[in-house]
C-alpha cells in the first residue's frame, strides 16, 4: 500500500491519519442517530406482596374433569374373567360362554397343545422376570432366538423385540425422524403412531384415508418445499397400518409403495392387527 501511495505522490502518513479520522467521525455520527438502549428495570416486589401472592394462590383440583355417572357405571360393570378354556370363557356370574370378545385369532393364548409345553418349560427353566433392561443382563438367549427366527420368517435382515405393543411405534418413529423431517401419515392411524409422530417433532401431515390423489399431492408439495429451502439430508417418511385397528379397513399398499419409490419416501408399516 505504501508503494501505491508513493506512486501517487501523496505523503503516506498524513493520508492514513485523515482516513482514520474520517472513519471515526462516520461511526460517531452513526451511533448518535441510533436509539439509546435502556434495559427494562426489573420489577422488585416487596416482601408483603410476595407473601400475599403465595398465600392467595389456589390451585385447581388434581383432576378437573371427573368421570361422570355413565363412565363410572362402565368402570364398575367391566366383565371380570374367571377362567378360559380354549374357546369358552367364564366371567363372574356366567359360566362357559363362547368367546367372541378377545383378539385371540389363532387360539394360541391358552390351552394349545403346541404352545403350552414350551411356555411352561421356559417358566420352569428361567423364572418369570428378566430383572433388567436389555443392556444390563436382561437379554436372554430366548430373546435372541426369537429375533433371528422372526427375521427369517418375515424374510428380512434382522428384527428387534419390544415389551409392549404401544411402546413400539412410539419409540421407533422418533428414532429415525427428527426435527425438520417430514412425515406423511394416514388420518386413521392408531393412537400410538400419533404419539410417535408428535414426539418426533417432525412436520407431520395427515392425508385422507386411502386417498392416493391426496397422497401424491402432498408428496409433490413436500418435495417442492425441500427443493425451495435447499436443505440437505432431509428424510421423508410415510406411515401406514396394514389393517387399521379402529376402522377395520386395509391400506392400499402396492400403490403407496409405488408412489413412495417415485418420490423417495421411506415406508413404515404397522402390521399388528
Amino acid at each position: 500500500m505504501l508503494e501505491v501511495l508513493l506512486l501517487l505522490e501523496i505523503p503516506s502518513d498524513v493520508t492514513l491519519h485523515y482516513v482514520i479520522y474520517a472513519l471515526m467521525t462516520i461511526i460517531i455520527v452513526f451511533l448518535f442517530t441510533r436509539k439509546s438502549y435502556r434495559p427494562k428495570a426489573p420489577v422488585v416486589l416487596t416482601p408483603q406482596e410476595i407473601n400475599e401472592l403465595i398465600t392467595t394462590w389456589e390451585p385447581t383440583p388434581l383432576i378437573c374433569n371427573k368421570v361422570d355417572e355413565y363412565q363410572k357405571f362402565n368402570i364398575e360393570t367391566v366383565p371380570v374373567v374367571k377362567s378360559v378354556n380354549k374357546e369358552l370363557i367364564s366371567i363372574e356370574g356366567y359360566d362357559n360362554l363362547i368367546n367372541f370378545g378377545t383378539s385371540n385369532y389363532l387360539g394360541l393364548a391358552q390351552g394349545s397343545e403346541l404352545i403350552e409345553p414350551s411356555t411352561l418349560g421356559t417358566l420352569h427353566a428361567t423364572g418369570l422376570g428378566s430383572c433388567g433392561p436389555r443392556n444390563f443382563y436382561g437379554t436372554l438367549d430366548v430373546h435372541l432366538d426369537f429375533e433371528s427366527r422372526m427375521a427369517k420368517f418375515l424374510n428380512v435382515d434382522s428384527a428387534i423385540l419390544y415389551s409392549s405393543s404401544i411402546a413400539t411405534c412410539a419409540s421407533v418413529i422418533p428414532t429415525f425422524s427428527a426435527r425438520g423431517d417430514y412425515i406423511l401419515s394416514d388420518e386413521r392411524v392408531r393412537k400410538s403412531i400419533q404419539v410417535g409422530n408428535y414426539t418426533s417433532r417432525s412436520n407431520v401431515t395427515y392425508f385422507r384415508h386411502n386417498d392416493l390423489n391426496h397422497v401424491e399431492e402432498l408428496m409433490i408439495q413436500i418435495t417442492k418445499n425441500i427443493q425451495k429451502s435447499k436443505q440437505k439430508e432431509i428424510r421423508r417418511f410415510i406411515v401406514v397400518e396394514g389393517v387399521y385397528q379402529n376402522y377395520g379397513t386395509m391400506c392400499r399398499l402396492r400403490e403407496i409403495i409405488a408412489l413412495a419409490k417415485q418420490y423417495k419416501f421411506r415406508v413404515i408399516l404397522d402390521d399388528s392387527v
Binding site: 363372574e92 368367546n99 378377545t102 430383572c131 437379554t139 404401544i166
Partner: protein, 497 residues
C-alpha cells in the same frame, strides 16, 4: 476423598484438575481416531466405486446426528460390556454367554457367541428380594394361572381384559400401600409416559428433578405442560423454583398457574441416592402443590416391611398424591402401578392411553406379583418376607461399608441397595468389567450418555439372595482389581483433598 464419599454425592466441579484432563484426553483421542477411520472408510469406498449408496443420496441418511456416529465408531470398542446375553435364571448366580468379535478382536460391531457358558456372581440384575427363581411357591402359582387363564388376555382393560387376578392384585396393592385405589399397567415405561399427560395439560407446571428417568421426561413433554427443573435432590432449590413460579405465573401472560406438580423418584438408580421426602412433603404442603413419587427401585427394597420410601422416612402415604412404581425390580415380574385416590384412578381407567387401548397385563405376570407380595406382607403364614428384607439390609450395609473401608469412592445414601462405584477415567471402565468377568463376576457399567462424560461408574445391585461368602469373594476380586488399576485411595490422598 473421604469427605466426598460421606457426603454421598460427587459433582464435576469437585474433581481435581489433573483428573479432569486425564479424563478428557482419551475421549479426544478416540474421537480423532474415529473421525480418521470414518474419512478413510469413505475414501476407500469412493475409490472402489461403491460410494455413498444411491439410497442414502436420494432418500436421505437413515440415521444422523452425533449419537449415531458415537455409537457406531467410538462405542463399538466397548460393545462387549453391554447387552451380554444370559441364559437361565437371573438370580444370585447367572449364566453368562461369552461373546467375542470377529477374528477374536473386540473392536468390531459384530459379536458372536463362542458357546461358552460361564456361571458368574450376579451383581448387575435388579433382584433386590431374590424372587428371581424357577422353583418355589411363586412359580407353582404362576403355572396354575397360565393353565387356567392363558398367557395373555388378548383384550384391553375396558373390554374383556380384566380378570380376577387383576382385581386381586389391585386390592392387595391398595392394602400394602395404604391408598384408596390402584391401577396396574403392562409395562413400567408406559405407566409414566401415559399417566402424566392425563393429569397435566396446558396451563400447568411440572417441576421435575434434574436426573429423572427417561420415561418421566417423555411423559412430561408429551403432556403439553410447562416444565421446570430443579437441582438434583436439593429441597432448597426446589423451594426457590416453586416460589418463583407462583410469583411470576405463566410466561408472558403472567396469569397464575392452574396447578403445580412436583415429580421426583424414590431411589435414583444411577446415583444410589434416596429422595429426601420429608422436606419435599413440607414444601408441597406449604405451597399447595401436588406430589408424584416414582418408586421404581424403592418399593419392596426400603422400609421395615418393604413399603417403600414413605415408610423409610415415616411419612404417611396420604401426604403423597400419586404413588407410582414398577414390578420389575423387587417382585421379579413386569409392569407398573399407580396408587392414588379413587377419582384419579377412575379418570386414568377411562382416559389413559395405556389402559384404554393397550392389552392388559398378562395374567401369569400379575400372579407372580400377587404371590411375591403375599410373601412380603407375611400373608402366606411364614416369615420369609421379613427374612428376605433383613437379608437385603444386611447385605447392603456390609457391602457398602467394606468397599468404603477398602478405599473406593462410593456415592449414594448408606441405606440404598444400589451401590455406584466411581471409575472416573473412561479407560478403566472396560478393564474393570472384563477383568471382573474373567473372575466370574457380572457387573454393570454406566458411562456417557447415561451419566455425565467425566463421571463413569460401575453399579452394583445387591440382592437378598447373596450370602456373605458371595459378597466376600466379590470384595476380594474388586480389591485386587482396584489395586491393579489404581481405584483405591487412602484417607489423606493429596490427589483428592
Amino acid at each position: 476423598f473421604f469427605s466426598l464419599s460421606i457426603m454421598g454425592r460427587i459433582n464435576v466441579e469437585q474433581l481435581p484438575f489433573f483428573t479432569k484432563i486425564t479424563t478428557y484426553v482419551p475421549y479426544f483421542i478416540a474421537l480423532v481416531f474415529s473421525y480418521c477411520r470414518v474419512s478413510v472408510t469413505n475414501l476407500i469406498n469412493t475409490l472402489k466405486g461403491n460410494s455413498v449408496s444411491t439410497e442414502t443420496k436420494e432418500y436421505g441418511p437413515l440415521v444422523k446426528s452425533f449419537n449415531c456416529f458415537f455409537e457406531k465408531w467410538m462405542f463399538s470398542r466397548i460393545m462387549d460390556l453391554f447387552a451380554r446375553p444370559i441364559t437361565g435364571v437371573p438370580g444370585a448366580y447367572i449364566d453368562v454367554l461369552i461373546q467375542t468379535g470377529e477374528d477374536n478382536s473386540i473392536n468390531t460391531r459384530k459379536l458372536t457367541r463362542t458357546g461358552e457358558v460361564r456361571k458368574c456372581l450376579n451383581l448387575g440384575s435388579y433382584n433386590y428380594l431374590g424372587f428371581a427363581e424357577n422353583t418355589g411357591r411363586c412359580v407353582d402359582d404362576v403355572d396354575n394361572t397360565m393353565r387356567t387363564l392363558g398367557n395373555s388376555t388378548c383384550s384391553t382393560r375396558l373390554e374383556m381384559g380384566t380378570t380376577v387376578v387383576h382385581r386381586e392384585l389391585e386390592s392387595l396393592m391398595c392394602e400394602f400401600l395404604g391408598k384408596e385405589d390402584c391401577i396396574s399397567f403392562g409395562m413400567g415405561y408406559a405407566t409414566n409416559s401415559t399417566t402424566i399427560p392425563v393429569i397435566c395439560g396446558r396451563g400447568d407446571l411440572i417441576i421435575s428433578d434434574m436426573l429423572n428417568h427417561a420415561s418421566i421426561v417423555v411423559g412430561c413433554r408429551s403432556s403439553g405442560a410447562s416444565i421446570k427443573v430443579f437441582k438434583h435432590n436439593d429441597p432448597k432449590h426446589l423451594e426457590q423454583v416453586v416460589r418463583k413460579a407462583i410469583i411470576e405465573g405463566q410466561p408472558r401472560t403472567n396469569r397464575p398457574w392452574k396447578k403445580i406438580l412436583i415429580v421426583v423418584e424414590g431411589i435414583y438408580s444411577m446415583e444410589g441416592e434416596i429422595l429426601c421426602l420429608p422436606e419435599v412433603v413440607e414444601i408441597k404442603k406449604r405451597y399447595n402443590c401436588y406430589l408424584y413419587v416414582d418408586e421404581a427401585h424403592s418399593i419392596g427394597a426400603l422400609g421395615k416391611t418393604g413399603r417403600g420410601v414413605c415408610e423409610y422416612w415415616g411419612v404417611d402415604t396420604k401426604e403423597v398424591d400419586i404413588l407410582m412404581g414398577t414390578f420389575t425390580k423387587s417382585f421379579s415380574a413386569a409392569g407398573g402401578y399407580i396408587a392414588s385416590s379413587k377419582d384419579v384412578i377412575d379418570t386414568l381407567r377411562m382416559n389413559s392411553f395405556a389402559s384404554a387401548s393397550d392389552i392388559s397385563m398378562p395374567p401369569p405376570v400379575a400372579q407372580q406379583v400377587i404371590s411375591s407380595l403375599k410373601i412380603i406382607m407375611g400373608k402366606d403364614g411364614t416369615d420369609e418376607g421379613q427374612k428376605r428384607l433383613a437379608s437385603l439390609r444386611r447385605n447392603t450395609t456390609y457391602f457398602r461399608t467394606k468397599l468404603q473401608e477398602y478405599g473406593f469412592i462410593i456415592i449414594g445414601h448408606p441405606d440404598s441397595p444400589v451401590i455406584p462405584l466411581m471409575i472416573i477415567h473412561p479407560c478403566k471402565m472396560p478393564i474393570f468389567s472384563r477383568m471382573c468377568l474373567e473372575k466370574n463376576i457380572a457387573v454393570v457399567m454406566a458411562s456417557y450418555p447415561a451419566t455425565e462424560v467425566e463421571l463413569s461408574r460401575a453399579r452394583f445391585c445387591v440382592s437378598a439372595g447373596h450370602t456373605i461368602e458371595d459378597l466376600d469373594y466379590a470384595l476380594e476380586v474388586i480389591k485386587e482389581i482396584g489395586d491393579i488399576i489404581n481405584l483405591r485411595f487412602e484417607q489423606n490422598d493429596p490427589l483428592f483433598l
